[in-house]
Amino acid sequence: MIRLDHVTITAGEFALRDVSLTIPSGGYGVLMGKTGSGKTTILETILGLRPVTSGRILLGDQDVTDRNPALRGVGYVPQDGALFSRMRVRQQLGFALSIRGVDKGLISQRVGELTEMLGIGHLLDRVPTGLSGGERQRVALGRALSFMPRVLCLDEPLSALDGETRGQMCELLAEVRVRTGVTTLHVTHSLDEAAQLADPLLRLVDGRVAVEHAASGDKVSEPPVSDAKVPREKAASDDHAERSTAVVRPTKTGRLDIQSSP
């Protein structure tokens, strides 16, 4: 679950006051709003890259408001992927686990799982230069998922892609959601992406987050504030909120301890 509880964020002269939002466990929240409305600011706050002035941020049942980004367990895919230019794809995918001191064999195993899921096995020995936009975003997604985060934040990840690749990536994101159960916040301007993925669809208007379409099984508690007509995506399973999320944590011996958490 991602929950912002009356959060105020100040960034220079820009401020978001008393922002609250909730994305249930396993949900795929799509956050829309005008350019400059503060969508990325909210996302950076969840990631821990921007401090809050007041309020609380909860991920699952943990208050992470003052927690270092490294300790939040949130995967991040920026708009352009922000791949590490001097690392090969294999190194990028194993980077988070390597930093965590995970055993090389397990890193290799996890890289194999990711490449199978994302279809990037042929890219493992490539450096980012020369990768297509779609390939870059697949690698960035794999890198963000590599340590099995409980939350995934995507900042306009498909905005630079052509229509066909964007459609393929939307299908991939839906599949990733089903396979990993990761709770996701996806910032976008695209109604098509929202139509295919949103569960729930959130809209940021005048510093307030309104739920335009609730997550599957949830009741809408706030009225819609926009006249945009976005069809609700039903493809994903309705019981995702109840699905367990696999959490992998490195132990002191360097082995991965795979647990199930609600």
Binding site: A11, G12, F14, G33, T35, G36, S37, G38, K39, T40, T41, E44, L47, G48, L49, N68, P69, A70, R72, V74, G75, Y76, P78, D80, A82, L83, F84, S85, R86, F95, A96, I99, R100, A140, R143, A144, S146, F147, D155, E156, V187, H189
Partner: protein, 309 residues
């Protein structure tokens, strides 16, 4: 008015083409004057050296003698100049390494961290660049009148360490500028992603930012080295120009001129020109576009700053 019907009438195609050519030609002429000035200075040095060499030799072996007995060869044989070259190589290398050692953290902080007085500090760091060189030397000399620096003064002022310190005090400002420009050009998102993947700030810097700054560091190193090679004013005041002690190539030119030995002064100058050209070629080859960002100062494009959407 119907779509496609433009307001007013553009100039005739021929006049437009002529105007464009005149504009570019004017820019070329104005800029070309300065290019010619640089080329002329270097060519004059070389021509003067060749003329003096030929004048000193005669007969069928004139060209061979002109090379073997040229003032450059003479200068290279002179123990004082050899000492000067050796000290220049050592002091420039030391000051360049020190400059990069300081410029990497300072450039990183100036590029990435927003803090009160940052703009003031940014301007402050340019002081060694804009100050008259003699004032830099004089300021260093005065600084070593006060404790705790005065305790070290006997081992520094008018000694070899003063050469390195004087070169470093100016060269470092150029290295900081270069490193700041380098870090400005590295997408901060990469570092932010690294932190979300589990890195501390130090790990994100070490594993992600530092490797991407390698070209910038080479550029900063070579530019600091070249700047140190050309340093003269601060050296003269703070380190003196004692032969076989604090004499570097720039002071050799000054000393040779003082004793009226113009040939030797030009010969040493050409040695310095050759060194500077080699360094600049290396900088361009290794640093690429980053090397041209040296003087951009605060106007460098900053990527991925406080973006809101």
């Amino acid at each position: 008015m119907a779509v496609g019907h433009e307001y007013g009438a553009p100039r005739k195609p021929l006049a437009m083409a002529l105007s464009d050519r005149v504009f570019l030609a004017s820019m070329g002429v104005i800029g070309g004057v300065y290019v010619l000035l640089i080329a002329g200075m270097l060519a004059a040095d070389v021509l003067y050296m060749v003329r003096q060499s030929l004048a000193a030799s005669s007969g069928s072996q004139a060209w061979t003698a002109a090379v073997t007995e040229s003032p450059i060869v003479d200068a290279l044989r002179d123990p004082k100049i050899r000492y000067s070259i050796r000290l220049s190589l050592i002091s420039c290398t030391l000051s360049a390494i020190l400059s990069v050692f300081v410029a990497v953290p300072l450039g990183y902080l100036m590029s990435r961290v927003r803090f009160p007085g940052r703009r003031l500090l940014d301007a402050f760091l340019d002081i060694p660049i804009v100050l008259p060189p003699l004032v830099v030397g004089l300021s260093l000399l005065i600084l070593f009148q006060f404790a705790p620096f005065s305790w070290l003064a006997p081992h520094v002022v008018y000694q070899v360490p003063a050469v390195v310190l004087a070169q470093f005090s100016v060269a470092c400002a150029f290295a900081v500028r270069t490193m700041k420009a380098t870090f400005d050009q590295i997408d901060p998102r990469c570092e932010q992603v690294a932190r979300t993947l589990g890195c501390s700030r130090f790990q994100a810097f070490s594993y992600v930012v530092f490797p991407e700054a390698d070209r910038g560091m080479v550029t900063a190193l070579t530019l600091a080295w070249a700047r140190s090679l050309g340093e003269f004013g601060p050296l003269l005041i703070f380190a003196g120009s004692t032969r076989m002690k604090t004499e570097v190539l720039s002071t050799s030119v000054f000393l040779e001129m003082n004793v009226g030995n113009l040939e030797a002064a030009v010969a040493v100058s050409l040695i310095m020109v050759a060194g500077a050209i080699i360094v600049l070629i290396l900088t361009r080859a290794v640093g690429g576009e980053e090397s041209s960002s040296l003087f951009r100062g605060g106007n460098v494009r900053e990527r991925g700053g406080a973006r809101r959407s």
